[in-house]
């Protein structure tokens, strides 16, 4: 397995009302061919901004990539011009969006919306593109594809629209599919269908997926590797098993604890008290320190380095330092049912 995408020390900043909001602060990770990497974290942790940076879709102004590299196919996408990025977007890297109700153009037939990318990237004729679009609709499980190509988005339900959005993203057989909260806006039953569809498509096409979500249930369903983001940084990364059964970062513990469980003894939902840090004035030390039940003096003043726990798992936490007191993860993180 080779690295398809490698992100090194990415920093993204937004200049809003005179403040410099550092949404992403030194994020590094890699994505292998055909795998699914989940980036999890709560709102404002920088996960969506990271995905937009990969697509070259950070609105500038106010946002810009201040430093770092995004290697795809051996070249650094950060240095690419908009024109060059237009050749990558939708062809090699494409994206599924959170809200299918607003992600489609209301005044354009969905067939045309799917065909646009095909005509642009694969030089297909209109008729060829139409045939391919119908195939794509069939692939994402929309019945009567030929008829539905001529319909408008408002004639589709939310789940069906998300299927259309996925069809648009898949049109040119992308090597990387970025799914930004693909199920958040959908009903629970539809969520399961869309997740099944994505797994199915990955099996058929072999595309790698970056799954951006705050829903650990979705992560458990789809991902092989997980990166946990907090305050614009990746605080812990590892395989699915490592993150769910052997998490080392107190924030990961908090996330796992706050997942509702079927067999819980109390009917109380556990939450992580406090709010994420203000990234216009980011903390010097660990961003999670103010909310961390195990925070020490050092946490506030110095950002911990990553501790390698295995070939695949690394965690940025002072608790893993040999001088730190031994802290056991809370009992509440037990993954439901097991």
């Amino acid at each position: 397995m080779g690295n398809l995408l490698e992100i090194k020390n990415l920093n993204v900043q937004f200049d809003i009302f005179g403040a410099h909001v550092q949404a992403v602060r030194g994020v590094s990770f890699e994505l292998n061919v055909g795998e699914t990497l989940a980036i999890v974290g709560e709102s404002g942790s920088g996960k969506s901004v990271t995905s937009k940076a990969i697509m070259g879709l950070i609105p500038n102004p106010p946002g810009k990539i201040t430093s770092g590299e995004i290697f795809f196919d051996g070249s650094d996408l950060v240095k690419y011009s908009q024109k060059q990025m237009q050749k990558i977007r939708g062809k090699d890297i494409s994206m599924i969006f959170q809200d299918p109700m607003t992600a489609l153009n209301p005044t354009m037939k969905i067939g045309k919306q799917i065909m646009e990318g095909l005509i642009k990237h694969q030089n297909l004729s209109k008729n060829e593109a139409k045939t391919k679009a119908a195939e794509l609709l069939k692939l994402v499980g929309i019945p009567n594809p030929d008829k539905r190509l001529d319909e408008y988005p408002h004639q589709f339900s939310g789940g069906m629209r998300q299927r259309v959005v996925i069809a648009i993203a898949l049109a040119c057989n992308p090597k990387i599919l970025i799914a930004d909260e693909p199920t958040t806006a959908l009903d629970v039953t539809i969520q399961a269908q869309i997740l099944d569809l994505m797994r199915d498509i990955q099996k058929k096409t072999g595309t790698a997926i970056i799954l951006i979500t705050h829903d650990l249930g979705v992560v458990a369903n789809l991902a092989q590797r997980v990166a946990v983001m907090y305050g614009g940084k990746i605080v812990e990364t590892g395989t699915l098993e490592e993150i769910f059964y052997n998490p080392k970062h107190p924030y990961t513990w908090g996330l796992l604890s706050s997942m509702p469980k079927l067999h819980a003894k109390t009917d109380k939902l556990l939450a992580i008290p406090g709010t994420p840090p203000d990234l216009s004035d980011p903390p010097k030390g660990c961003p999670f320190a103010p909310r961390c039940p195990h925070a020490m003096k050092v946490c506030v003043d110095h950002m911990p380095d990553y501790t390698k726990l295995s070939a695949t798992q690394k965690t940025a936490c002072w608790l893993l330092d040999e001088r730190a007191p031994k802290v056991d993860p809370p009992a509440t993180i037990g993954v439901g049912g097991e």
Binding site: M55, L57, Q82, M85, Q86, K87, I88, R89, G90, K91, S94, M95, F97, D99, T102, A103, L104, N105, P106, T107, M108, Q113, E116, G117, K120, H121, Y152, H154, Q155, V165, I168, A169, A171
Partner: protein
């Protein structure tokens, strides 16, 4: 869609009927008589005249008579022009006003849309500020001021275009520009704010994520959606420009219907007042219908939700 249009046409006639009735009644409240030097006429002469024009009958009778004739295509004769049929007089002058109005609307709308797109895409930059500053001037300065300035600069000073008249392309330029400035300014403002709004929508990001070029994103995805609210103002605006061209017609000596309308009100030329008002009302109502149909063509959501019943 067909049923929707039929329903709308039905409403159109109802509206026209209400307009005719209200105009008829309020016109009868106008002071004075249609007759010049009425105070020098003897009561007998006055009564004879009134009888001749049917004005001695009670107002309800006059109203019913007028409506009866109107339905049968007879709008009466103009008092000022020796009982020439009103319809003939209107048709002689109306095309000129219509021509002027539509030229101004088309020029103003197209340029306004273009400027609005440019300003909206460069929000907060010099191009945006410049366009919007021009637009504020266009909205706040009345057309007759522009008319005067244009006449002086291009008609008197550099003599590119005739100062007045209505024959040939060159004579159209100045009056059309004076009228179009307001349209342009208003449409540009609307288009700009719609572009700003539309460009921040999720489906624009979807289009960008497909790798489309900036011009494809703007013209295929953004403009059509931004046009929907702009079309809404085009209806009232068209009616306003066509009816409001009166002053500009006067300044440029254009043989339109505006001046005639004012004369007919001043001289209590009842059939002429009625005729002109009916014409304006019909024009306004038809414009609104066209705008609604256009709306349906541009926005599929409206087309289908209305057409679903038929």
């Amino acid at each position: 869609m067909g049923r929707y249009v039929l329903k709308r046409i039905g409403y159109m006639f109802a509206t026209l009927y209400v307009v005719i009735t209200l105009t008829f009644l309020s016109m009868k409240l106008l002071p004075g008589t249609p007759f010049k030097n009425a105070n020098r006429l003897s009561p007998v002469q006055l009564n004879q005249l009134k009888h001749f024009y049917g004005l001695d009958q009670p107002i309800p009778v006059q109203y019913v008579k007028y409506m009866w004739n109107f339905i049968h295509g007879d709008m009466g004769g103009s008092f000022q022009f020796g009982m020439q049929p009103v319809s003939q007089l209107l048709m002689a002058k109306f095309p000129v006003s219509l021509d002027l109005g539509f030229e101004a609307i088309i020029v103003g709308t197209l340029l306004g849309i273009l400027l609005g797109i440019v300003a909206g895409l460069h929000r907060g930059k010099a191009l945006d500020w410049g366009t919007m500053a021009v637009s504020i001037f266009g909205i706040s300065i009345p057309s007759f001021i522009f008319a005067g300035i244009l006449q002086y600069l291009f008609g008197v000073q550099v003599r590119w275009f005739p100062v007045a008249g209505w024959s040939g392309f060159a004579s159209h330029v100045l009056p059309v520009i004076s009228l179009a400035v307001y349209v342009l300014a208003l449409v540009a403002r609307f288009m700009r704010s719609e572009m700003v709004e539309v460009m921040s929508q999720d489906y624009i990001v979807t289009a960008e994520a497909k790798g489309l070029s900036t011009s494809a994103v703007v013209f295929k995805h953004a403009v059509r959606n931004a046009l929907i609210p702009v079309i809404t103002i085009l209806g009232p605006l068209t009616a306003m420009i066509i009816t409001g061209s009166l002053v500009v017609e006067e300044i440029f000596g254009i043989p339109g219907i505006g001046a005639q309308f004012v004369d007919s009100v001043v001289t209590n030329d009842y059939p002429m007042i009625m005729g002109t008002t009916e014409l304006y009302a019909a024009l306004f109502i038809i414009t609104m219908l066209i705008v609604d149909i256009l709306y349906g063509i541009i926005d599929p959501r409206i087309r289908l939700s209305e057409g679903g019943q038929s």
